[in-house]
């Protein structure tokens, strides 16, 4: 609900800006840069196991891949670039050294360069948002694309927080993105309960991507080869001057309760009795 309101506000802001202060050429498509955040997560198809000490999820010897929503975000950025609306697509990943593999995947899909922000502990959305804000201040992108959420923590917060920290408009859960270079706006369809909502946001903006936006491309051999010579810049938290203090502490991670096996009832009376006295639903 809160981000819904935020977006409405951003639209009003756009109107003001458009009338009062037409944009300079700083986000001209010939120079526009798109920043895409890509997260390394436990692969979508892997059965998650909780560590016996309940401190988190077991990632030892587990297949890690790019978060599927981030893949969609990257694909959209690449399509925008291929359509001539942007000059460069920069993929950024935050985490341990293996994040370079995720960035290589991004580069093999077509990103021009990568930024790896090294960090050995796993961060919650606010810290990531602060890091992305610092990066945005350095890189000065015209658009930041993120997946709407990561499949490991399902937080669905980072995009909104980045937009808030930067004071940029945001369009979340995008299912269609159309850029208008002359007016420096993005028109974004988002899937909401009961239909589609269409927003216009000024650039620069933050867009988070939903499942139906596009179908990401595969990494082809020629592109894998090209990716090998693309640069990945390493940065540290100190470089970006980000405070990593967190107000949230994870107390315990446990598996959901196991489903009890069902029973076959022999009569309607027994069914009603069970619904009443065991399931407490009638």
């Amino acid at each position: 609900m809160s981000h819904h309101r935020l977006i409405v506000r951003s639209q009003e802001k756009r109107k003001c800006f458009c009338f009062v202060l037409p944009y300079s050429f700083s986000f001209c498509h010939r120079t526009m840069k798109i920043l895409v955040a890509v997260k390394r997560v436990v692969d979508y198809a892997v059965k998650i196991r909780v560590k016996p000490d309940k401190t988190g999820v077991d990632t030892q010897n587990v297949k890690m891949s790019m978060n599927p929503f981030c893949e969609i975000a990257l694909e959209e950025a690449l399509r925008i670039k291929e359509a001539g609306f942007a000059k460069e697509v920069v993929a950024v990943s935050i985490g341990p050294s293996q994040c370079v593999d995720t960035l290589r995947t991004g580069l093999a899909m077509g990103a021009d360069r990568g930024i790896h922000v090294e960090a050995n502990s796993s961060f919650l959305p606010l810290t990531i948002a602060k890091i992305l804000r610092s990066l945005a201040e350095v890189e000065n992108p015209g658009l930041i694309f993120l997946g709407k959420q990561a499949i490991d923590d399902d937080c669905n917060q980072t995009g909104q927080m980045v937009a808030a920290l930067l004071g940029w408009p945001q369009a979340t859960f995008a299912s269609k993105v159309v850029l208008d270079n002359d007016k420096h706006v993005a028109t974004v369809d988002r899937e909401v309960d009961g239909g589609l909502e269409t927003l216009s946001v000024d650039l620069p903006a933050v867009i988070t991507t939903d499942l139906r936006l596009n179908q990401p491309r595969y990494a082809t051999l020629p592109n894998i080869m090209k990716a090998k010579s693309k640069p990945i810049k390493k940065m540290t938290l100190e470089d970006l001057k980000v405070d990593i203090k967190s107000d949230i502490e994870i107390v315990e991670v446990t598996e959901p309760p196991k489903r009890k096996s069902g029973v076959i009832v022999s009569s309607v009376d027994e069914l009603i009795d069970k619904l009443k006295n065991e399931a407490h639903v009638v």
């Binding site: 692969d43 979508y44 198809a45 892997v46 059965k47 010897n61 587990v62 297949k63 891949s65 790019m66 599927p68 593999d101 995947t105 093999a108 899909m109 179908q215 595969y218 990494a219 082809t220 051999l221 020629p222 894998i224 080869m225």
Partner: protein
């Protein structure tokens, strides 16, 4: 990662029983004579007299009412020789006393007379072969299997052992009224040794369940195939199923360490060893691996499983011609040998079929090419395995052996690549009628038969080639609008003769079943088949186990 996770088996509707009735030709349209090859061997078969005291079969033929009250001729679709089988009149017919006896042994609910369930059990999943059994038995343990068989043997009631009923040659369904013995209730894992990796289980365990069980222990089954969600390990062993991992872990003759089988008279043979090495006498378990239930019913299996390795990578590549495919195979064995775990190929006709008939499938390669290859590696180190695979593929690209390719970046992508290869059978079924051949050939010959058959059939049918290139195993499939005599006449015996000429096998991994029982002589000498027949007579003197299958009837006729 476990390999099976790379495939969305859950999505498969491969075993859905969509009716193909409307696609069948008229029943009597498929009744060509058996090939001359078999006829010439009939006299040979006469050397092997069945048990003394048998009726004169010829007389029974003339007087069908005498023994059974019925005279049936078996009809099936898509195979020429299988359509002319006569019911063996020496077999008894089921009566109410038999059913009562079975109920006594197995209990009411494990003796199935329900028509709907029998309909399913009587029909193979392709809807090509259909029997008319009136009874299915569901034993719960070896003892019950033994009692049932002992009784059937004494009554001379023919039986068909059945597992998941996923066979492709009509081996798992009755031909006439054979009693179906389904081991589906015998589905317990009996032991697993985490040091040796030896798994001991009952025959009715579903392959995928075993794989899931092993996954929790950090191990993988040495075989994997498209039907894993339905097929039973007992059936896999009885048919010596091959599948996608054979190139890595070898055939079941190597990985099955022991088994328990019940012979026709109810004798229980305990050969359930768990030793890798055991040279004491004849290794008789091999008789039951791949004999398709014709020598005994496998009730327990001990099988060597492998540790699950952390890193699995999959590439889907395109090649211009078949020669390049061969060269890539040779290079892959040299450069990826220790991590190579699958090497599969399909031609563009197969790709088009899948794209046209399965939802949500896309060609990973942007422009269509003549051949596609799946290369899977399984190893212990993600980074080095991936580098090795990439380096190999990039080198192949530079040498122009590969025209384009993609590497799966996550399991989801890998599943969608596998979906193409594993979905061909399903797509074939949706496309209409199809004729399936499963051939072993020298690798350099594999695609010649596809081309030859294309020339022969012209516009009449769509000829597709795909399969386990790494194992020299071609799945030759011919897709047509409907089953018809003319097309079948052009395919058979041509395919068998072609295979025989190149010293190939007419059944690489599917078995002979009822479809190719008479064609065994294309791949085995009459002397060899004669010895097989005498082994069959030794273990099953009355011939009640899975009759009409595996071996030609002529070897048993008086």
């Amino acid at each position: 990662m476990m390999m099976q996770k790379w495939r969305r088996s859950g999505d498969f509707i491969r075993f859905g029983r969509k009716s193909l009735t409307n696609l069948r030709s008229k029943e009597d349209s498929v009744s060509r004579s058996v090939s001359g090859f078999v006829n010439c061997c009939e006299s040979k078969g006469k050397l092997f007299e069945p048990n003394a005291g048998n009726h004169n079969t010829e007389l029974d033929h003339r007087c069908p009412g005498r023994n059974l009250g019925i005279m049936q001729q078996y009809k099936c679709f898509g195979s020429s020789s299988a359509s002319q089988i006569q019911r063996n009149p020496l077999f008894s017919s089921l009566d109410s006393n038999d059913v009562s006896y079975f109920k006594e042994i197995l209990g009411e609910k494990n003796v199935i007379e329900d028509e709907e369930r029998l309909e399913t059990a009587n029909t193979d999943w392709m809807h090509k072969y259909k029997g008319s059994s009136k009874l299915m038995l569901l034993p719960k343990n070896t003892e019950e299997v033994s009692q049932v068989l002992n009784y059937c043997d004494s009554r001379r009631l023919a039986v068909v052992p059945q597992g998941g009923n996923t066979g492709l040659v009509g081996g798992s369904v009755p031909v006439f009224d054979e009693v179906i013995i389904n081991v589906g209730l015998m589905n317990k894992v009996l032991a697993f040794d985490e040091v040796s990796g030896v798994l001991v289980c009952e025959a009715g365990c579903i392959l995928e369940n075993l794989a899931n069980f092993l996954d929790t222990k950090g191990f993988v089954m040495p075989l994997d195939l498209g039907a894993k969600g339905s097929c039973h390990i007992g059936g896999n062993v009885s048919t010596n199923a091959g599948g996608l991992r054979l190139i890595r872990y070898g055939s079941l003759h190597g990985t099955v360490l022991g088994l328990e089988a019940v012979t026709a008279n109810g004798n229980v043979l305990d050969m359930l060893g768990t030793l890798r090495k055991d040279n004491t006498g004849y290794d008789l378990k091999h008789l039951f691996i791949g004999s398709e239930g014709s020598l005994g019913i496998v009730t327990k299996v001990s099988i060597l499983t492998q540790p699950k390795l952390a890193s699995v990578n999959l590439a889907f590549i395109a090649c211009k011609d078949y020669l390049s495919c061969q060269k890539i195979l040779v290079e892959a064995k040299k450069n990826l040998g220790e991590i190579l775990s699958a090497f599969e190929f399909l031609d563009n006709n197969s790709m088009d079929l899948v794209l046209n008939h399965l939802d949500g499938v896309r060609n990973p390669i942007s422009s269509s090419e003549n051949f596609y290859i799946l290369i899977e590696t399984t190893g212990s180190d993600e980074t080095s395995d991936r580098e090795k695979l990439e380096a190999f593929l990039l080198k192949s690209l530079e040498k122009r052996l590969v025209s384009d390719g993609v590497i799966a970046q996550d399991i989801n992508q890998a599943s969608s690549f596998w979906r193409i290869r594993e979905g061909i059978t399903e797509a074939l079924q949706k496309a209409g009628a199809f004729y399936k051949y499963d051939l072993s050939l020298p690798v350099e010959e594999i695609y010649n038969i596809v081309n030859d058959l294309r020339g022969r059939l012209g516009d009449l049918a769509n000829v597709m080639g795909y399969g386990h290139l790494g194992d020299g195993n071609l799945h030759l499939n011919i897709s047509t609008v409907e089953y018809n005599d003319k097309i079948l006449g052009l395919i058979e015996p041509y395919v068998y003769e072609w295979t025989s000429k190149h010293r190939g096998s007419i059944s690489a991994e599917h078995g002979l079943g009822v479809m190719k029982a008479n064609e065994i002589l294309y791949s085995k000498s009459p002397e060899t088949v004669a010895l097989m027949a005498s082994i069959k007579k030794l273990l099953d003197p009355k011939g009640i186990l899975n009759p009409y299958k595996v071996l030609p009837q002529s070897f048993f006729s008086p």
